[in-house]
Amino acid sequence: MITGKKRPLFEAFALVIAATVCAVVANNLAARTRKLAWKAEYPNAMIVRELVPLATATPSPIILPDISAAESPTPTPTAAPLAITATPTHVLTVGSTPETTPSPTPAPVPQKEFLPHPDVPWVEIGYADVRSLYDRNSLFIDARRSDAYTDGHIAGARSLPVWEADIDERVKAIYSEGLDQEKPIVIYCSGGHCEDSHMLAQKLWGLSFNNVLVYKDGFPDWKQRRAPVGTGTKP
Protein backbone atom coordinates (compact mmCIF):
# COMPACT_ATOMS: atom_id res chain seq x y z
CA MET A 1 0.00 0.00 0.00
CA ILE A 2 1.52 3.30 -1.04
CA THR A 3 1.21 5.95 1.67
CA GLY A 4 2.76 9.22 2.75
CA LYS A 5 4.76 11.39 0.42
CA LYS A 6 4.84 8.86 -2.39
CA ARG A 7 1.09 8.55 -2.64
CA PRO A 8 0.39 11.79 -4.55
CA LEU A 9 3.18 10.93 -6.98
CA PHE A 10 1.75 7.49 -7.56
CA GLU A 11 -1.75 8.90 -8.07
CA ALA A 12 -0.50 11.58 -10.49
CA PHE A 13 1.47 9.00 -12.43
CA ALA A 14 -1.59 6.73 -12.60
CA LEU A 15 -3.77 9.59 -13.86
CA VAL A 16 -1.30 10.49 -16.60
CA ILE A 17 -0.91 6.86 -17.69
CA ALA A 18 -4.70 6.41 -17.74
CA ALA A 19 -5.05 9.59 -19.80
CA THR A 20 -2.44 8.37 -22.29
CA VAL A 21 -4.16 5.00 -22.69
CA CYS A 22 -7.52 6.72 -23.20
CA ALA A 23 -5.95 9.06 -25.78
CA VAL A 24 -4.46 6.16 -27.75
CA VAL A 25 -7.72 4.20 -27.78
CA ALA A 26 -9.87 7.24 -28.61
CA ASN A 27 -7.57 8.32 -31.44
CA ASN A 28 -7.63 4.83 -32.95
CA LEU A 29 -11.42 4.75 -32.83
CA ALA A 30 -11.89 8.32 -34.11
CA ALA A 31 -13.31 9.13 -37.53
CA ARG A 32 -10.78 9.97 -40.24
CA THR A 33 -11.44 13.71 -40.01
CA ARG A 34 -10.98 13.65 -36.20
CA LYS A 35 -7.79 11.61 -36.05
CA LEU A 36 -4.48 13.23 -35.24
CA ALA A 37 -1.11 11.79 -36.19
CA TRP A 38 1.08 11.15 -33.14
CA LYS A 39 4.09 12.31 -35.09
CA ALA A 40 4.00 15.44 -37.24
CA GLU A 41 6.26 18.28 -38.26
CA TYR A 42 5.45 21.92 -37.60
CA PRO A 43 8.58 23.90 -38.53
CA ASN A 44 7.15 27.26 -37.40
CA ALA A 45 5.58 26.04 -34.17
CA MET A 46 7.69 28.38 -32.01
CA ILE A 47 7.79 31.41 -34.33
CA VAL A 48 5.34 34.27 -33.89
CA ARG A 49 4.35 35.87 -37.17
CA GLU A 50 4.86 39.59 -37.59
CA LEU A 51 1.91 41.37 -36.05
CA VAL A 52 -0.72 42.45 -38.54
CA PRO A 53 -4.04 43.49 -36.97
CA LEU A 54 -6.93 41.34 -38.15
CA ALA A 55 -9.56 43.02 -40.30
CA THR A 56 -12.82 43.89 -38.57
CA ALA A 57 -15.82 41.65 -39.12
CA THR A 58 -17.51 44.21 -41.40
CA PRO A 59 -16.50 43.62 -45.03
CA SER A 60 -14.71 46.50 -46.62
CA PRO A 61 -16.00 47.92 -49.92
CA ILE A 62 -14.81 45.97 -52.94
CA ILE A 63 -14.93 46.58 -56.65
CA LEU A 64 -16.79 43.97 -58.65
CA PRO A 65 -15.84 43.79 -62.34
CA ASP A 66 -18.39 44.29 -65.06
CA ILE A 67 -19.40 40.93 -66.61
CA SER A 68 -18.65 42.26 -70.11
CA ALA A 69 -15.34 43.57 -68.86
CA ALA A 70 -14.42 40.02 -67.86
CA GLU A 71 -14.59 38.92 -71.48
CA SER A 72 -12.71 41.96 -72.79
CA PRO A 73 -10.02 42.88 -70.34
CA THR A 74 -9.94 46.60 -71.12
CA PRO A 75 -12.82 48.50 -69.53
CA THR A 76 -15.61 49.83 -71.78
CA PRO A 77 -15.86 53.59 -72.09
CA THR A 78 -19.17 53.87 -70.24
CA ALA A 79 -19.36 50.84 -67.94
CA ALA A 80 -17.36 52.12 -64.99
CA PRO A 81 -17.37 49.72 -62.01
CA LEU A 82 -18.99 50.91 -58.80
CA ALA A 83 -17.65 50.41 -55.28
CA ILE A 84 -20.21 48.38 -53.32
CA THR A 85 -20.36 46.36 -50.11
CA ALA A 86 -20.62 42.60 -50.30
CA THR A 87 -24.00 42.32 -48.54
CA PRO A 88 -26.81 41.05 -50.79
CA THR A 89 -29.00 44.11 -50.17
CA HIS A 90 -26.43 46.31 -51.81
CA VAL A 91 -25.64 44.24 -54.89
CA LEU A 92 -25.74 46.22 -58.08
CA THR A 93 -25.09 44.89 -61.52
CA VAL A 94 -22.85 47.01 -63.59
CA GLY A 95 -23.27 46.99 -67.31
CA SER A 96 -23.63 49.16 -70.34
CA THR A 97 -26.90 51.07 -70.87
CA PRO A 98 -28.87 50.87 -74.20
CA GLU A 99 -27.59 54.31 -75.11
CA THR A 100 -23.88 53.37 -74.95
CA THR A 101 -21.92 52.93 -78.10
CA PRO A 102 -20.30 49.52 -78.73
CA SER A 103 -16.68 49.30 -77.56
CA PRO A 104 -13.87 48.78 -80.05
CA THR A 105 -12.31 45.29 -80.21
CA PRO A 106 -9.61 45.31 -77.54
CA ALA A 107 -6.06 44.19 -78.18
CA PRO A 108 -5.27 40.85 -76.53
CA VAL A 109 -3.52 41.31 -73.19
CA PRO A 110 -0.63 38.90 -72.61
CA GLN A 111 -1.28 36.52 -69.72
CA LYS A 112 0.77 37.07 -66.57
CA GLU A 113 3.39 34.42 -66.09
CA PHE A 114 3.79 32.72 -62.71
CA LEU A 115 7.33 31.46 -62.80
CA PRO A 116 8.68 28.74 -60.49
CA HIS A 117 10.43 29.87 -57.29
CA PRO A 118 12.47 26.92 -56.04
CA ASP A 119 14.22 28.99 -53.36
CA VAL A 120 11.07 29.83 -51.37
CA PRO A 121 8.22 27.51 -50.38
CA TRP A 122 5.42 29.89 -51.42
CA VAL A 123 4.54 33.28 -52.86
CA GLU A 124 1.41 35.08 -51.68
CA ILE A 125 -0.98 36.37 -54.31
CA GLY A 126 -4.22 38.34 -54.32
CA TYR A 127 -7.60 37.80 -55.90
CA ALA A 128 -6.75 39.13 -59.36
CA ASP A 129 -3.92 36.65 -59.83
CA VAL A 130 -5.93 33.85 -58.24
CA ARG A 131 -8.81 34.47 -60.62
CA SER A 132 -6.48 34.53 -63.57
CA LEU A 133 -5.06 31.15 -62.55
CA TYR A 134 -8.56 29.79 -61.92
CA ASP A 135 -9.60 30.78 -65.44
CA ARG A 136 -6.57 28.86 -66.75
CA ASN A 137 -7.67 25.70 -64.90
CA SER A 138 -4.72 25.64 -62.54
CA LEU A 139 -4.72 23.18 -59.64
CA PHE A 140 -6.41 24.63 -56.56
CA ILE A 141 -6.00 23.06 -53.14
CA ASP A 142 -8.04 23.74 -50.01
CA ALA A 143 -5.96 23.39 -46.83
CA ARG A 144 -8.87 23.77 -44.41
CA ARG A 145 -10.58 21.04 -42.40
CA SER A 146 -12.82 18.58 -44.22
CA ASP A 147 -15.96 20.00 -42.61
CA ALA A 148 -15.15 23.50 -43.82
CA TYR A 149 -14.43 22.16 -47.30
CA THR A 150 -17.74 20.32 -47.43
CA ASP A 151 -19.63 23.46 -46.40
CA GLY A 152 -18.11 25.42 -49.25
CA HIS A 153 -14.93 25.59 -51.29
CA ILE A 154 -13.56 27.12 -54.48
CA ALA A 155 -15.27 25.16 -57.24
CA GLY A 156 -12.89 22.49 -58.54
CA ALA A 157 -10.47 22.74 -55.61
CA ARG A 158 -9.17 19.58 -54.00
CA SER A 159 -9.18 19.05 -50.25
CA LEU A 160 -5.92 18.47 -48.38
CA PRO A 161 -6.76 19.31 -44.75
CA VAL A 162 -3.37 20.03 -43.24
CA TRP A 163 -4.42 19.33 -39.64
CA GLU A 164 -5.95 15.89 -40.26
CA ALA A 165 -4.01 12.69 -39.65
CA ASP A 166 -3.72 11.48 -43.24
CA ILE A 167 -2.26 14.70 -44.68
CA ASP A 168 1.13 13.17 -45.43
CA GLU A 169 -0.47 10.31 -47.35
CA ARG A 170 -2.59 12.78 -49.34
CA VAL A 171 0.43 14.91 -50.16
CA LYS A 172 2.31 11.85 -51.34
CA ALA A 173 -0.70 10.88 -53.46
CA ILE A 174 -0.52 14.29 -55.17
CA TYR A 175 3.17 13.68 -55.81
CA SER A 176 2.44 10.22 -57.23
CA GLU A 177 0.15 11.71 -59.86
CA GLY A 178 3.24 12.90 -61.69
CA LEU A 179 2.07 16.49 -62.02
CA ASP A 180 4.31 19.08 -63.61
CA GLN A 181 6.09 20.51 -60.58
CA GLU A 182 6.85 23.78 -62.35
CA LYS A 183 3.21 24.61 -63.02
CA PRO A 184 1.49 26.96 -60.57
CA ILE A 185 -0.56 25.44 -57.77
CA VAL A 186 -2.81 27.68 -55.70
CA ILE A 187 -3.40 26.84 -52.05
CA TYR A 188 -5.89 28.66 -49.85
CA CYS A 189 -7.39 28.50 -46.38
CA SER A 190 -9.38 30.99 -44.32
CA GLY A 191 -7.31 34.12 -44.98
CA GLY A 192 -6.35 36.60 -42.25
CA HIS A 193 -3.88 34.98 -39.85
CA CYS A 194 -4.63 31.46 -41.04
CA GLU A 195 -1.39 29.66 -41.84
CA ASP A 196 -2.80 26.32 -42.94
CA SER A 197 -2.10 27.12 -46.59
CA HIS A 198 1.50 28.10 -45.78
CA MET A 199 2.03 24.86 -43.86
CA LEU A 200 0.71 22.83 -46.78
CA ALA A 201 2.82 24.85 -49.22
CA GLN A 202 5.88 23.96 -47.17
CA LYS A 203 5.04 20.25 -47.44
CA LEU A 204 4.61 20.45 -51.21
CA TRP A 205 7.83 22.43 -51.54
CA GLY A 206 9.52 19.61 -49.67
CA LEU A 207 8.47 17.32 -52.52
CA SER A 208 9.94 19.73 -55.09
CA PHE A 209 6.77 21.50 -56.11
CA ASN A 210 8.48 24.76 -57.00
CA ASN A 211 5.57 26.96 -57.98
CA VAL A 212 3.19 27.02 -55.03
CA LEU A 213 1.15 30.18 -54.62
CA VAL A 214 -0.83 31.04 -51.51
CA TYR A 215 -4.09 32.93 -51.88
CA LYS A 216 -3.52 35.22 -48.93
CA ASP A 217 -7.12 36.36 -48.35
CA GLY A 218 -8.47 32.84 -48.70
CA PHE A 219 -11.92 31.43 -49.16
CA PRO A 220 -13.78 34.26 -47.38
CA ASP A 221 -12.47 36.70 -49.96
CA TRP A 222 -13.33 34.37 -52.86
CA LYS A 223 -16.85 33.95 -51.56
CA GLN A 224 -17.24 37.66 -50.89
CA ARG A 225 -16.42 38.34 -54.54
CA ARG A 226 -19.10 35.85 -55.61
CA ALA A 227 -16.62 33.71 -57.47
CA PRO A 228 -17.57 30.07 -58.27
CA VAL A 229 -18.13 28.02 -55.12
CA GLY A 230 -18.74 24.30 -54.75
CA THR A 231 -20.09 22.29 -51.84
CA GLY A 232 -19.88 18.68 -50.76
CA THR A 233 -16.96 16.31 -50.56
CA LYS A 234 -16.07 16.33 -54.27
CA PRO A 235 -14.22 19.13 -56.08
Binding site: R7, P8, E11, A12, L15, V16, A18, A19, T20, C22, A23, V24, A26, N27, A30, T33, R34, K35, L36, A37, W38, K39, A40, E41, Y42, P43, A45, M46, I47, V48, L51, P53, L54, A55, T56, A57, R145, P161, W163, E164, A165, S190, G192
Partner: protein
Amino acid sequence: MKWLRHPWLTIRVQIALGAIFVAAAIPKILDPPNFAHMIYNYRLVPGELLNPLALILPWIELLCGLALIVNLWKRTAAMIVGVLLVVFIVAVGINFARDNAIDCGCFTQNPVSKSYDQLMNEMKWVIWRDVGMLLLVAQLLYATADRHELRRRWDDRRRYD
Protein backbone atom coordinates in the same frame (compact mmCIF):
# COMPACT_ATOMS: atom_id res chain seq x y z
CA MET B 1 -10.36 31.50 8.44
CA LYS B 2 -12.32 28.48 9.61
CA TRP B 3 -15.00 29.13 7.03
CA LEU B 4 -12.45 28.32 4.32
CA ARG B 5 -12.28 24.80 5.70
CA HIS B 6 -16.03 24.32 5.99
CA PRO B 7 -17.17 21.08 4.28
CA TRP B 8 -20.18 22.86 2.75
CA LEU B 9 -17.89 25.19 0.80
CA THR B 10 -15.26 22.55 0.04
CA ILE B 11 -17.60 20.04 -1.59
CA ARG B 12 -19.15 22.72 -3.79
CA VAL B 13 -15.78 24.06 -4.88
CA GLN B 14 -14.63 20.52 -5.61
CA ILE B 15 -17.65 19.69 -7.77
CA ALA B 16 -17.59 23.06 -9.55
CA LEU B 17 -13.90 22.70 -10.44
CA GLY B 18 -14.49 19.14 -11.60
CA ALA B 19 -17.45 20.13 -13.75
CA ILE B 20 -15.54 23.03 -15.34
CA PHE B 21 -12.67 20.79 -16.31
CA VAL B 22 -14.94 18.05 -17.67
CA ALA B 23 -16.79 20.66 -19.74
CA ALA B 24 -13.50 22.04 -21.04
CA ALA B 25 -12.13 18.61 -21.91
CA ILE B 26 -15.02 17.19 -23.93
CA PRO B 27 -14.83 19.47 -27.03
CA LYS B 28 -11.06 18.94 -27.15
CA ILE B 29 -11.44 15.16 -26.98
CA LEU B 30 -14.05 15.24 -29.75
CA ASP B 31 -11.84 17.24 -32.14
CA PRO B 32 -8.11 16.75 -31.53
CA PRO B 33 -6.94 18.34 -34.81
CA ASN B 34 -8.69 21.57 -33.91
CA PHE B 35 -7.16 21.53 -30.42
CA ALA B 36 -3.73 20.89 -31.92
CA HIS B 37 -4.29 23.96 -34.10
CA MET B 38 -5.19 25.98 -31.01
CA ILE B 39 -2.01 24.87 -29.22
CA TYR B 40 0.01 25.68 -32.35
CA ASN B 41 -1.34 29.24 -32.29
CA TYR B 42 0.27 29.76 -28.86
CA ARG B 43 3.72 29.35 -30.51
CA LEU B 44 5.14 27.92 -27.31
CA VAL B 45 5.17 24.17 -27.88
CA PRO B 46 7.85 22.48 -30.02
CA GLY B 47 6.43 20.86 -33.15
CA GLU B 48 7.28 17.32 -32.06
CA LEU B 49 5.31 17.63 -28.81
CA LEU B 50 2.30 19.39 -30.24
CA ASN B 51 0.20 16.44 -31.36
CA PRO B 52 0.89 14.19 -28.32
CA LEU B 53 -0.02 17.12 -26.07
CA ALA B 54 -3.22 17.77 -28.01
CA LEU B 55 -4.19 14.12 -27.64
CA ILE B 56 -3.27 13.51 -23.99
CA LEU B 57 -3.92 16.84 -22.24
CA PRO B 58 -7.73 16.81 -22.67
CA TRP B 59 -7.88 13.33 -21.13
CA ILE B 60 -5.85 14.51 -18.15
CA GLU B 61 -8.35 17.35 -17.73
CA LEU B 62 -11.28 14.94 -18.03
CA LEU B 63 -9.93 12.37 -15.59
CA CYS B 64 -8.96 15.01 -13.03
CA GLY B 65 -12.37 16.63 -13.38
CA LEU B 66 -14.11 13.30 -12.85
CA ALA B 67 -11.86 12.50 -9.90
CA LEU B 68 -12.89 15.74 -8.24
CA ILE B 69 -16.58 15.10 -8.90
CA VAL B 70 -16.55 11.55 -7.50
CA ASN B 71 -14.21 12.49 -4.63
CA LEU B 72 -11.41 10.14 -5.71
CA TRP B 73 -7.77 11.20 -5.21
CA LYS B 74 -9.07 14.71 -4.81
CA ARG B 75 -5.86 16.30 -3.53
CA THR B 76 -3.80 14.89 -6.37
CA ALA B 77 -6.43 15.82 -8.94
CA ALA B 78 -6.60 19.34 -7.45
CA MET B 79 -2.83 19.69 -7.62
CA ILE B 80 -2.75 18.62 -11.27
CA VAL B 81 -5.59 21.03 -12.04
CA GLY B 82 -3.63 23.76 -10.28
CA VAL B 83 -0.52 23.03 -12.32
CA LEU B 84 -2.56 23.09 -15.53
CA LEU B 85 -4.08 26.45 -14.58
CA VAL B 86 -0.67 27.94 -13.87
CA VAL B 87 0.56 26.71 -17.25
CA PHE B 88 -2.49 28.17 -19.03
CA ILE B 89 -2.09 31.53 -17.25
CA VAL B 90 1.59 31.71 -18.17
CA ALA B 91 0.93 30.67 -21.79
CA VAL B 92 -1.82 33.22 -22.32
CA GLY B 93 0.20 35.85 -20.44
CA ILE B 94 3.26 35.34 -22.64
CA ASN B 95 1.18 35.71 -25.80
CA PHE B 96 -0.56 38.76 -24.40
CA ALA B 97 2.84 40.31 -23.66
CA ARG B 98 4.10 39.65 -27.17
CA ASP B 99 0.90 40.91 -28.81
CA ASN B 100 0.09 37.55 -30.33
CA ALA B 101 -3.71 37.66 -30.35
CA ILE B 102 -5.02 34.10 -30.07
CA ASP B 103 -8.20 32.32 -29.20
CA CYS B 104 -7.54 30.42 -25.99
CA GLY B 105 -9.43 27.34 -27.21
CA CYS B 106 -10.38 26.57 -23.62
CA PHE B 107 -14.03 25.69 -24.05
CA THR B 108 -14.86 26.02 -27.72
CA GLN B 109 -13.23 24.38 -30.73
CA ASN B 110 -15.07 26.34 -33.39
CA PRO B 111 -14.34 29.98 -32.62
CA VAL B 112 -16.06 32.71 -34.58
CA SER B 113 -13.73 34.97 -36.51
CA LYS B 114 -12.74 37.82 -34.18
CA SER B 115 -10.79 41.03 -34.47
CA TYR B 116 -7.41 41.67 -32.86
CA ASP B 117 -8.94 43.88 -30.16
CA GLN B 118 -11.60 41.31 -29.34
CA LEU B 119 -9.00 38.57 -28.96
CA MET B 120 -6.71 40.69 -26.80
CA ASN B 121 -9.62 41.61 -24.50
CA GLU B 122 -10.63 37.98 -24.25
CA MET B 123 -7.09 36.98 -23.32
CA LYS B 124 -7.18 39.41 -20.39
CA TRP B 125 -10.49 37.94 -19.26
CA VAL B 126 -9.13 34.39 -19.61
CA ILE B 127 -6.17 35.20 -17.35
CA TRP B 128 -8.42 36.60 -14.64
CA ARG B 129 -10.80 33.68 -14.95
CA ASP B 130 -7.97 31.18 -14.56
CA VAL B 131 -6.62 33.09 -11.54
CA GLY B 132 -10.08 32.80 -10.02
CA MET B 133 -10.08 29.05 -10.61
CA LEU B 134 -6.61 28.84 -9.09
CA LEU B 135 -8.02 30.40 -5.91
CA LEU B 136 -10.64 27.64 -5.86
CA VAL B 137 -7.86 25.07 -6.12
CA ALA B 138 -6.03 26.79 -3.28
CA GLN B 139 -9.14 26.63 -1.10
CA LEU B 140 -9.57 22.94 -1.88
CA LEU B 141 -5.98 22.09 -1.03
CA TYR B 142 -6.12 24.17 2.15
CA ALA B 143 -9.40 22.59 3.27
CA THR B 144 -8.25 19.02 2.60
CA ALA B 145 -4.76 19.31 4.07
CA ASP B 146 -3.99 16.86 6.88
CA ARG B 147 -3.56 19.41 9.66
CA HIS B 148 -2.09 16.98 12.14
CA GLU B 149 0.57 15.91 9.64
CA LEU B 150 1.32 19.53 8.79
CA ARG B 151 1.54 20.46 12.47
CA ARG B 152 3.86 17.53 13.13
CA ARG B 153 6.18 18.53 10.28
CA TRP B 154 6.15 22.16 11.41
CA ASP B 155 7.05 21.15 14.97
CA ASP B 156 9.83 18.84 13.69
CA ARG B 157 11.31 21.67 11.62
CA ARG B 158 11.24 24.08 14.54
CA ARG B 159 12.85 21.49 16.80
CA TYR B 160 15.80 21.01 14.46
CA ASP B 161 16.31 24.68 13.51
